[in-house]
Amino acid sequence: MDTYVSDNELRTVAEGIRLVTLQEFAGTGSGHVGGSMSIVETLAVLYGSEMRVRPEEPDWPDRDRLILSKGHAGPALYATLALKGFFPKEMLSELNQNGGRLPSHCDRNKTPGIDMSTGSLGQGISVAIGAALGNRMNGSDSTTYLILGDGECNEGQVWEGAMFASFHKLDNLIAFVDNNRQQLDGYTADVLDMEDLGEKFRAFGWFVQDVDGHDCGAIRRAVQAAKENVGEPAMIILHTEKGYGCTFAEGVVPNHHMSYTPEQIQEAIANAKNRLIAAQAEV
């Protein structure tokens, strides 16, 4: 994966990530399909365009960092990192395998390019704040990116962090909520309705933008606007579909963690290939 400029190119990156993520899932029989599919376009924008990283030097101190606080979307990030060149694509077959380096939830000590171990929800925001504060103290111009789940925003720690980040004017922190409207037990509106998350973060003093989370161009423009904004942490609410682009997951409730048959996953992979070809045709 190189660095891309055009929106259509980024779309091909996203569809490539989607395809490779589904190929990863083919080896497991079950997994966090829904939340992996909904975050694909954002990962394409970050690693295909906006983040400063060195795949050949994952621990480069001046890199931008991503804290994937909704750590269950690890499979999508692993696909992204493999495509970017952080590790060989063959390693993707280790997803959830005994002794493998790609656990269900992200682990910074196992996988090259993973910046933080996550999965116990609510904790990533505080770690991202710490990294952003530390970078500011160190005089580094690195940006810290953070991806939260909408269900994750049930956690009180998210709001402790939200208060802190705006009070300390952490404008080197750019956060996203993957607002896919579902959590494990069903629709967020039914489990614990968070209502308008954008309004909530705005009330907490953040620079908030709402975008279509499956529109790479819109996400990229929002990230660029966030980078230019001064004096506030940035929040981009991604309006997404949980399971987006996966034939057996999209529109299914619940689809947080799913089992699927070999036929289902092969059909999803074939469909993803067609999506990729269609996206490539538009470049």
């Binding site: 101190p61 000590n109 505080s126 710490g130 103290m137 160190n138 402790e160 962090g161 802190f164």
Partner: protein, 320 residues
Amino acid sequence: MFTVRDSFETSPVLMRDAMCKALTDMAADDDRIVALDADLIGSSGLKPFFKLYPERAIQCGIAEANMIGIAAGLSLVGKVPYAHSFGCFSSRRVCDQIMISAAYAKLNVRIIGSDPGITAAKNGGTHMPFEDMGVLRSIPQITLIEPTDPVMTDYIVRKLANEYGVYYIRLVRKETAAIYEEGSTFEIGKGNVLQDGRDVTIFASGIMVAEAMKAATVLKNGGVSVRVVDMFTWKPIDAELVKKCAADTGCFVTAENHNIYGGLGSAIAEAASKSRPVPIEMVGVDDRFGQVGSVDYLREQYNLGAMDIIEAAKRAIARK
């Protein structure tokens, strides 16, 4: 090497002041050092640090979970954080943040939990941690330290600036007995034999060390030869020393300002059972909650005095 004082008067230096002085001294030459607090700098003694190094002092407000996560994140970019709250709120309240954001992620975080056990005194049961070390002891690879006096506190706080891992420092905030001479050095993970003896070993920690020394003197006058060990590191426990003391003295008393379930007594019993089991009598809080009171009153309430150690030593010896 350490030198034990001849007598154990109350130290003129408060523990919190020793901690803050060590931290500010280290911070002068090391811009990695960061202090965090959760609306308690008026209690923790960190005010001088916050005044001297405002750009490296982080007031987190009453949000301890966020504070631990921030400390972990700071260490991601090379900072060396020391985060303080009262012991209850820097252990049981943030157990999962310490477990996942700090320990599981293998980051570099020091946590100071103040007012251990009965030293929480007038703050009472909600603020009286008899469980902090027990809660944290099951976290893999964490190091748990209870400094004994200001000399040790100074040494440990400085030493930890150049170590890597997750450390919990259980710190009395105010007065303690002065046990060690200035200039003493210590080894994390190794118990200090303060006094040798052959009939029984007393493993003590924190405010119980001075009580153990008092008890040893009384027992000695009664013809009992007592070894006293300051077991200031609860994890990793000094298993070699436990084994040696079992062989040399044949029975133990453990003395801790903590619940005996999950605390120092448990740690020593585990170590002894793996090497050389001996009778063990545990002086500590017997599975009770805290309450309001003066330290002296609470010491009596929870049976944490020298007399309790003396009686326990007699029982342990009788069981040999």
